[in-house]
């Protein structure tokens, strides 16, 4: 059901904007291109920033750095009681959306779709955003290269999301 609502939102939003604008006597078709033509420039402007970010992230993932970090962090995780299986997901979710979904699918396949660990992983994935991609696209679109607090705060929010996903899932699924 949620999926149906979600699919309906965009068409409904578009038709609402157009009806309201027509009611306000805006010539909708004539006005559309004025805004729309910026779309090309903005998209092209993002390319250098996105290439820089995505190449770095892809190298990081391909090198096996995430597995290495996993091995290094394992004792810490066992100490705080985080399932080690979730670590690759926790480390990947800020870097790559498709990567995180792939890892989630593996966890779900290995443990069953209704297992508590799968549900925990689902919460961890559901509230994640690919922080580095978002920063590259949004800052890239306006040509900002000095991110100041955005990067630190983004990482802190990601860490908070991981910890909260674990704690809240522990209370609700176990």
């Amino acid at each position: 059901m949620f999926e149906q609502i979600s699919y309906a939102l965009i068409p409904l939003l578009i038709v609402s904007i157009l009806i309201y604008a027509t009611y306000k006597k805006v010539p909708v078709y004539e006005e559309f291109p004025t805004g729309a033509k910026q779309g090309f420039d903005i998209s092209i402007r993002i390319i250098p920033y996105l290439v820089a970010m995505m190449v770095a992230v892809a190298m990081f993932r391909a090198s096996g750095a995430i597995d290495l970090l996993g091995t290094l962090l394992k004792p810490v995780l066992e100490f705080i009681g985080m399932p080690v299986e979730l670590l690759p997901l926790a480390l990947t979710r800020s870097l790559s959306g498709s990567g995180a979904r792939g890892i989630f699918a593996e966890i779900a396949a290995a443990n069953g779709p209704d297992a508590p660990i799968t549900k925990t992983a689902a919460v961890m994935l559901g509230c994640s955003e690919t922080t580095f991609y978002v920063l590259a696209v949004y800052f890239g679109a306006v040509g900002v290269t000095k991110f100041r607090h955005a990067i630190t705060a983004g990482i802190v929010a990601d860490l908070a999301g991981i910890v909260l996903a674990l704690v809240i899932s522990k209370m609700m699924f176990y």
Partner: protein, 203 residues
């Protein structure tokens, strides 16, 4: 800072790649990631064009000003240096709402419009993020999510019988992470010396 983070990612990858004997994978990743970055950007053109056109219509119809007025009281708590009723508030509100509803495709053009608005108000040099940009992107990177539609879909496709019971914990988690992120960015803004001269210009 980004200079060091970028260098760290690449340097660490090369070192680990050598240790792991994965230099072929690293090398392939460089080539495929650079082309997929371009493909993603090109792929954005369509949806970006559509939404920027629609948002221009919404602006002409007075919808943007209306939304800015409605959301101004809340948004000015979080973004103190945006002037009252500035249209950028509508872009921020639409971006956050679209993200929360899981409409990532529509959220990106709205977010970029918001960034352009914030850049117009930026008291710093144009290559340097303003305090409000940092706050706005913290909200975006925290991944506000009310309906984790895609995750529920994956769970359901794998045969989960009660996939929707992740909704409440996801909302709680995302909201908690959002609050922590905002408080943290506000703290950083407060303690950083550079924010003092520029950040409060419009209050």
């Amino acid at each position: 800072m980004m200079n060091y983070i970028w260098l760290f990612f690449i340097f660490f990858s090369v070192v680990v790649g050598i240790i792991n004997g994965k230099m072929k994978e690293v090398s392939d990743a460089i080539i495929s990631a650079s082309s997929s970055a371009v493909e993603i950007s090109i792929g954005l053109i369509g949806i970006m064009t559509l939404w920027l056109g629609l948002m221009h219509i919404a602006q002409k119809a007075g919808l943007i000003d209306l939304l800015a007025k409605v959301f101004s009281p809340i948004l000015r708590l979080i973004f103190p240096s945006i002037p009252k009723d500035d249209p950028v508030q509508a872009d921020i509100a639409m971006n956050v709402t679209a993200n929360a509803l899981g409409l990532g495709n529509a959220a990106t053009p709205m977010g970029i419009k918001a960034m352009e608005g914030l850049q117009r108000l930026n008291p710093n040099k144009k290559d340097t993020a303003s305090d409000d940009m940092c706050t706005f992107l913290t909200i975006n990177t925290a991944g506000v999510q009310l309906l984790p539609v895609s995750v529920i879909a994956i769970l359901a496709s794998l045969g989960s019988t009660n996939a929707t019971d992740i909704i409440l914990p996801t909302i709680l988690t995302t909201f908690g992470a959002l609050v922590i992120g905002i408080l943290f960015v506000k703290l950083l803004i407060k303690i950083s010396p550079e924010s003092k001269k520029g950040g409060k210009k419009n209050v």
